[in-house]
Amino acid sequence: MRVIVAEDSVLLREGIARLLAEHGFEVVGKAGDAEDLIRKVGAHKPDVAVVDIRMPPDNTDDGLRAALQIREQQPGTGVLVLSAYVEEAYALELVADSASGVGYLLKDRVADVDGFVEAVRRVAEGGSALDPEVVSRLLGRTRRQDPLDELTPREREVLELMAEGRSNAAIAERMVVTERAVEKHVTSIFGKLNLSPTAVDHRRVLAVLAFLRS
């Protein structure tokens, strides 16, 4: 799998590149700012770009803007945005109307090497990876009449993992239950939240996000 790493801190950039290389990724390019990233993504057409949100030239949300541009111009390239802060608004903006090949993770997650590599792979394959923190923030919004209150704790857990972009198999493994049991929970959740069921992982992320942001 071909990957480009965009991060202005040399230390972190090299660290992430080395980590991904060790786990079987081919690092085809490294970028230190948003313009460099756009150029290299255009040239190398990687499967996924790992992008720091705060980068030169403006040092604000240049990375995010670059990511949005890549998603628009090169739908074949997945984008995983790393951020030092949890900002649900950014995650929602990034996902917009397709949760395919997109991810938004806290930078800290890099330390959880297996989880991180798994997320990069998922995004590269057209799936999604949303940070648990973002999901719990979205779920934690205080609503006046909250349909989420009707979910059982188990179902809530499934919903969270689902929103992070995980497949049923991954959820089953995580929760130490059968895939069949996860499917049953998912059906029940979609029923309670009045959502139309869908089998594709990234579509269901979108459905859940759409529900949560409303």
């Binding site: 604000t60 802060y85 649900e88 919004r141 205080t142 609503r143 006046r144």
Partner: protein, 580 residues
């Protein structure tokens, strides 16, 4: 013509008619002594009191002095009927011969305000009214022809049973009461004169002197009468001189005051024209008003408060010991004169002085406003500095207690893990797991700390998403209505952001609210931020440093922060920040 004016003209007409009839009746009287003199006294005294009284009444309808003078004049007229032939009028005159003394005493004691100052004065006046009515009516029933001072007078129509003994004893008693009352009035006049401040003394002296002389003369005459000492007839006439003078002295006082006033205002105009200000202006006004205690207050619309010329805030005194008069310029209140209540008796003077000094006062007001603003600025700057210091201390503490502690223990864990790596790999792994967790927590704390210092989303994306983010993080339902839809200067964004953040923190902490509404909008060149809740209310912006610090921050941007909190429920925090 107003109703009052018509009534006064009617009274004037009635007085003239009465005077004409009386002159005719005295002139043709069979028994009246000194007819010519009495006609003259009638005109000078009765006419004088009624005429001057009506004039005073029309000028100052709310001051009782005019009314009392008119009453004295008419009472005099009624009494003088005891010199006329018709038995009915003669009887009426005889019964009311001394009636005029009661309103006259009332007048002297109430001058110049028209109000009686003490309970003693009121009792004295009430007693006088009773003495001159009941006191002279009762003996009428027993006053036979022998007890009258003349032999050729008409009949006493009220006579029931002539009784010289009763009448003599009654009048002796009345004399004693009269002497006591007259001396009491004399004492009160002297006491009031001694106590009066110089400007008041200037006004009351002529009237009080003639009043005091009148009281002393009448008391002496009554004493002689009681003691049975014969007094020559003309002594009674002499006693009437100070009484007759009263209305004319009053008139002279008015004329003198008017002259002084014109002079004072003229002088003031001349000096104020020479561009004086501050202390000097106050002194000039004090001189023009002849009130050394004069103070100035200026109205500052921005802060909705009064300040003194130095810009210090000031409470207007309650009415009573001090009085206030507004000075206006083009309908705006420029200044307030705080002065002796006595000056309320001369509203024209105060008005004229105020008008003459209005422009100069407006200049002083602007200066006072500036001083007040500077004072406020100085205070708020000091508060901002200490607020900033407190914030830094809080940050230092948070860093020290949080992330730093975690990193220290992390370093320790790593060192232990390294030591155990060979001998006890399992233990080493455990320590490393713990270290990773600790690191994660430290990162989380640092993240929250950084957000508190400056939220990245605010500088990245502006107020709308940043406010959205606070609303989503709040532990209660928050509805965000209205949007800016554009970026505004960073200081404005930051201030607005912290208003929402601080207000929602307070709502969550204290308000026990079920929900809150946040409104951020642009209105007439200002960013308006409102945070309203349905909680218990009672928030006080002066309490706690949070809102206070915000208020200063917003004031520094030329805006203002209002907290509208009703005890019955709900708090609304509203910030208006100028933003062109």
């Amino acid at each position: 013509m107003t109703g009052l004016r018509r009534a006064l003209w009617a009274l004037a007409g009635a007085g003239l008619l009465l005077l004409a009839v009386q002159i005719d009746l005295i002139a043709t009287s069979d028994f009246a002594p000194d007819r010519g003199l009495w006609i003259a006294l009638d005109v000078v005294i009765g006419g004088g009191f009624v005429g001057v009284g009506l004039y005073a009444w029309s000028r100052r309808p709310d001051n009782r002095v005019g009314v009392l003078m008119v009453a004295t004049g008419f009472a005099w007229f009624v009494g003088v009927f005891n010199l006329t032939d018709p038995a009915l009028l003669f009887t009426l005159g005889l019964a009311t011969a001394n009636l005029f003394m009661a309103p006259a005493i009332h007048l002297l004691l109430a001058f110049p305000s028209g109000r009686l100052e003490t309970r003693f004065d009121r009792r004295l006046v009430i007693g006088s009214y009773i003495a001159v009515t009941v006191g002279f009516l009762v003996p009428m029933f027993f006053l036979g022809s022998g007890d009258k001072h003349c032999t050729t007078c008409p009949d006493n129509l009220l006579l029931v049973e002539p009784s010289s003994g009763f009448v003599g004893a009654w009048f002796d008693g009345l004399c004693v009461i009269g002497i006591a009352a007259l001396l009491a009035v004399l004492g009160r006049l002297i006491a009031r004169w001694r106590r009066a401040a110089p400007p008041l003394r200037r006004i009351v002296t002529p009237l009080f002197v003639s009043g005091a002389v009148l009281m002393a003369l009448l008391a002496t005459l009554l004493f002689f009468d009681l003691a049975g000492i014969e007094v020559i007839e003309s002594a009674y006439y002499v006693a009437l001189i100070p009484f007759a003078l009263v209305p004319y002295l009053f008139l002279a006082g008015l004329a003198r005051a008017r002259m002084l006033r014109a002079g004072a205002v003229g002088e003031l105009v001349a000096r104020v024209g020479g561009a004086i200000a501050g202390r000097e202006l106050r002194d000039e006004l004090a001189r023009a008003l002849n009130d050394p205690s004069l103070e100035l207050a200026f109205w500052i619309p921005d802060s909705g408060a009064y300040v003194d010329p130095e810009g210090r805030s000031l409470e207007l005194p309650e009415s009573g010991r001090r009085a206030t008069s507004d000075v206006t310029l083009d309908g705006r209140r420029v200044a307030v004169l705080i002065h002796d209540p006595l000056l309320l008796e001369e509203p024209e003077l105060v008005e004229a002085v105020g008008a003459a000094a209005a422009l100069a006062l407006e200049k002083d007001r602007l200066e006072a406003e500036l001083r007040a603003k500077i004072g406020e600025l100085r205070e708020s700057r000091a508060r901002m500095v200490s607020f900033g210091l407190a914030e830094r201390r809080r940050l230092e503490r948070d860093l020290h207690d949080g992330a730093q502690q975690r990193l220290v223990s992390l370093a320790l864990d790593l060192r232990l893990a390294r030591d155990a790596a060979r001998t006890d790999p399992e233990r080493s792994e455990e320590l490393l797991d713990g270290a990773a967790e600790e690191l994660e927590r430290a990162l989380g704390e640092l993240r929250e700390l950084a957000r508190g210092i400056h939220p990245a989303v605010l500088s990245d994306r502006g107020l709308d998403p940043a406010v959205e983010a606070i609303a989503n993080r709040a532990p209660l339902a928050v509805e965000v209505v209205g949007r800016l839809g554009e970026r505004v200067p960073e200081p404005v964004e930051l201030a607005a952001y912290f208003v929402v953040s601080e207000a929602l923190t307070n709502v969550a902490k204290y308000a026990h609210a079920a929900q809150a509404t946040v409104r951020v909008e642009r209105e007439n060149g200002r960013v308006v931020v409102e945070v309203a809740d349905d909680g218990v209310g009672g928030a006080d912006p002066q309490r706690g440093t949070g809102l206070r610090g915000l208020a200063d921050r917003i004031a520094a941007l030329g805006g203002r922060l209002d907290v509208d909190s009703r005890p019955e429920g709900g708090t609304m925090v509203r910030a208006r920040i100028p933003c062109e």
